[in-house]
């Protein structure tokens, strides 16, 4: 299986720049029987790891709650407290 190398973002210094290519099959050929076939390419800037992991986790949780509020109509109104 050959890889596809096509960087989709070359901008360092920004928050993790990650993009995804569109779903594709290879020439309409089903390569994995019974499986959804999709090739995905990620280009990532380094995310802080190690000592800053807790901070990153908190940021990701905040991102999740904001995304949920935006995409889930049943999200309750009210002040959000991070515990």
């Amino acid at each position: 299986m050959s890889r596809i190398h096509r960087p989709v973002s070359i901008a360092p210094g920004n928050p993790p720049t990650v993009e995804r290519t569109k779903s594709l099959t290879q020439g309409g050929r089903k390569l994995l029987t019974g499986s959804r076939v999709r090739t995905t390419l990620l280009v990532m800037s380094p995310s802080p790891e190690g000592p800053r992991q807790v901070v990153v986790k908190k940021l990701r949780e905040r991102k999740a709650i904001d995304a949920l509020r935006a995409s889930y109509p049943k999200f309750p109104d009210g002040r959000i407290e991070a515990t």
Binding site: H5, S35, R38, P46, E61, A67, S71, D77
Partner: protein, 214 residues
């Protein structure tokens, strides 16, 4: 004991007019392992290598190249690899930077650590310092529903404590399409889960919220 504390509150509490709604946020990771190591650990080590390599390129005042490292996915990376692999990347950049016009691909023919497949270098305009990132390609598997159930069961252990502060408690499971370790497809007929949570919601790719129960 450090690291085994059971938090008494969910990740967030929404103070709604009808009462406090607790929302516990957690992440889904693919269950695959590389020689015993979870994917998220391998992904984290790749980030660390890229980060250290970037620092070394900057410290050595190397040319302002964008370097994309492709790691050999079947080969397990361990923590002690981080610095030597990063140094090998920085050395390659140092040795070959002069040959990079717009781009240059260097395949690992044994001159690089075994965990590296190849390295692509670009010289984009406007780059103010060298930068090392990494690329990855994967077939996207369907979500492992057993893994989802395990997450729910594990999180239910905290429910009693959460209910002391909240009249309703939700569990949100993030499937992050922008991390190889989490990237998964949620089948349209994703099964519902039997749970004591008031709602279990999968947040897929930060865009769509899918209720799994209730």
């Amino acid at each position: 004991m450090a690291g085994s504390r059971q938090p008494k509150s969910p990740t967030f509490i929404v103070h709604a007019p009808s009462g406090a709604v607790g929302i516990e946020v957690t992440e889904y990771f693919r269950p695959e392992r590389i020689d015993g190591s979870p994917l998220q650990e391998q992904e984290s080590l790749c980030h660390q290598i890229a980060h250290v390599a970037t620092q070394k390129c900057i410290e050595s005042s190397l040319p302002n190249l964008y370097v994309a490292v492709s790691f050999e996915r079947a080969r397990r990376i361990v923590k002690k690899d981080v610095v030597p692999v990063a140094e090998a990347i920085a050395k390659l950049v140092s040795d070959t930077a002069a040959h990079v016009d717009w781009s240059l691909k260097v395949v690992n023919d044994g001159q690089l650590p075994e965990c590296i497949d190849d390295i692509l270098m670009y010289r984009p305009a406007g780059l103010t310092e060298p930068f090392v990132g990494f690329t990855a390609t994967t077939w996207v598997p369907p979500v492992a529903e057993d893994e989802l159930r395990k997450i729910v069961l594990n999180k239910e252990k905290k429910l009693d404590a959460y209910r002391r502060r909240c009249s309703e408690v939700w569990l949100v499971i993030v499937i992050d399409g922008f991390r190889i370790a989490s990237l998964s497809e949620l089948p349209p007929d994703a099964s519902r889960v039997t749970t004591a949570f008031d709602r279990v919601i999968v947040l897929h790719d930060w865009r769509s919220a899918i209720e799994l129960s209730n």
